[in-house]
């Protein structure tokens, strides 16, 4: 049954007795055409687009915990398409277009809010770099406006513009950037996939990948073996462990990225603000909490929590940029496990094993990619050919050095992004 304002009103007046579970809880069948390992944002959107775009519904999503319990529920919910390099540029542009039609498509309120994203700059050189990035975004068909200092002041009057070390020179405004409600994105895709016949199987951890004569034949799970003609691995945060079941070693090192949220406040920060020089970014959730984060802790970790030096650094950067938030009280902090690739860009590709596909390496940018990643990965699985916007996300680009997408320009090596 669909959602609508009318239905909310009717259910409200009748004691909310008409709501039913949003998806089934099926027992796993012994065989599927396609098994997707990982019931996070990317896995659920992959299943949704397999069903919707390719008519493939004999599909199971296997999730070791509960749907949306991993990184899709641990991010800072930012949606943007302000990438610079070929490969990333067209991919995130496509993903943002999917975001803009997502709520109608899913009939689900994912609270997508295009409140605008502003990347601040603090020197003439940085202004040039952002002007160039803005032109690249416009050439891609997206939007970018270069703001001078007074232009930024109109949007963000509360910044410390005269900070001695990083005075605000201006900012690059990406008006279509913004945020969305992360859980709702997972739930909306889950509901959409389930209603098209996809089996979403929770508490089902994959413990082995069956391969015969170079071809995948199924998976072993904690709920028994499941045969499959094709298997997609979509488990950013655990990619190395799952790929190891297929005998693969990936160009990935897992790092922890911390994030923070304050108690709920009245509306005070209307945009997403990014302070690159301080490795700090912030937005305000619809519930009122200031949601902010910084850079990686910069050591390999699966702990889903970080250390105090980075906490201190993030707080200092926030105070340097916008001293007004100093009275806000931090409610909680957490860490997400990032699949870090050497060039900081993701991987959507086939593997050396027939029928086994890989989607990983989302670094700290996976949330905004959820629609585009699922769309392109479903295309790859269904047709065995790359979807054009994701065609450059090759697994072997590191080995041959061709087509690296080092967005930060720091070098395509581990621990530099």
């Amino acid at each position: 049954m669909g959602f609508s304002g009318w239905r909310v009103l009717r259910e409200g007046l009748s004691g909310n007795r008409g709501w039913t579970p949003q998806w089934r809880d099926p027992e796993p069948k012994s065989e599927y055409d396609i098994v997707i390992i990982g019931g996070g944002g990317h896995g659920l959107s992959t299943a949704y687009y397999l069903a919707k775009e390719h008519g493939l519904t004999n599909v199971a999503v296997l999730e070791k915990g509960y749907l949306g319990g991993g990184n899709v529920g641990r991010n800072t919910t930012i949606v943007r398409a302000n990438y610079f390099l070929p490969g990333n540029s067209e991919f995130y542009s496509h993903s943002l277009k999917l975001w803009e039609g997502l709520e109608e498509d899913l009939n689900y309120n994912v609270m997508h809010s295009q409140r605008g994203l502003i990347n601040l700059f603090h020197s003439d050189g940085q202004r040039d770099a952002f002007a160039r990035r803005g032109n690249a975004m416009i050439n891609q068909g997206d939007d970018a406006i270069l703001l001078d200092r007074e232009g930024v002041r109109k949007h963000l009057p509360y910044l410390d513009f005269d900070n001695l070390r990083f005075p605000v020179y201006g900012g690059l405004l990406h008006p279509r950037g913004g945020t969305a409600r992360h859980d709702a994105v997972a739930w909306g895709y889950a509901r959409g996939a389930d209603s098209r016949g996809v089996d979403l199987i929770q508490n089902c951890e994959v413990t082995g990948i069956d391969i015969e004569n170079g071809r995948v034949t199924g998976v072993q799970t904690t709920r028994g073996p499941i045969r499959a003609k094709k298997v997609g691995m979509v488990v950013a945060g655990r990619s190395s462990q799952v790929a190891a079941m297929a005998g693969m070693r990936l160009p990935i090192e897992s790092h922890v990225l911390q994030a923070f949220v304050t108690e709920g406040l009245k509306p005070v920060i209307d945009h997403v603000v990014s302070f690159g020089m301080g490795h700090f970014y912030i937005s305000q959730s619809d519930k009122g909490g200031l949601v902010f984060g910084g850079d990686l802790d910069f050591y390999a970790s699966y702990a889903a929590r970080g250390n105090l030096p980075m906490v201190e650094h993030v707080m200092e950067a926030g105070m340097a940029l916008m001293p007004m938030i100093g009275r806000a009280r931090v409610l909680r902090s957490w860490g997400g496990i990032m699949d870090m690739t050497p060039d900081g860009s993701p991987i959507i590709d086939k593997t050396g094993i027939d029928g086994l596909y890989l989607n990983c390496g989302w670094c700290y940018g996976g949330f905004k990619a959820v629609p585009g990643s699922g769309f392109s990965f479903a295309h790859l699985i269904a047709r065995d050919e790359h979807h054009a916007p994701a065609a450059r996300y090759r697994l072997d680009r590191f080995r041959d050095g061709i087509g690296l997408m080092d967005e930060e320009g720091t070098g395509a090596q581990h621990n530099l992004h």
Partner: protein, 87 residues
């Protein structure tokens, strides 16, 4: 997280810079095949558990050390000087 430098003892994380997996000690020879360089530069076992990695004690004695550390608990299991470590 405090790291036990073999020279300086337990020291604050902020004194150290992380390099990455200790595979960095196994630099292939110049004649090595592309696959060996890919293994060295990019491909990682990336374990959830004990791992050996290189850290630089720049805020202390300046030594490179090989730290054995649990990536799930952040527990430091041991540390030796890189020059004395087996590659």
């Amino acid at each position: 997280m405090r790291i036990r430098c073999p020279i300086c003892g337990d020291r604050d994380l902020r004194e150290f810079t992380y390099k990455g997996d200790a595979v960095a000690l196994n630099r292939p020879g110049p004649e090595a095949a592309a696959q060996a360089w890919d293994d060295y530069l990019h491909l990682r076992r990336n374990p959830a558990g004990a791992t050996r990695e290189l850290w630089y004690h720049g805020g202390g004695c300046g030594a490179w050390i090989v730290v054995t550390r649990d990536t799930v608990t952040h527990e430091i299991l041991g540390a030796v000087l890189a020059e004395e470590a087996e590659a």
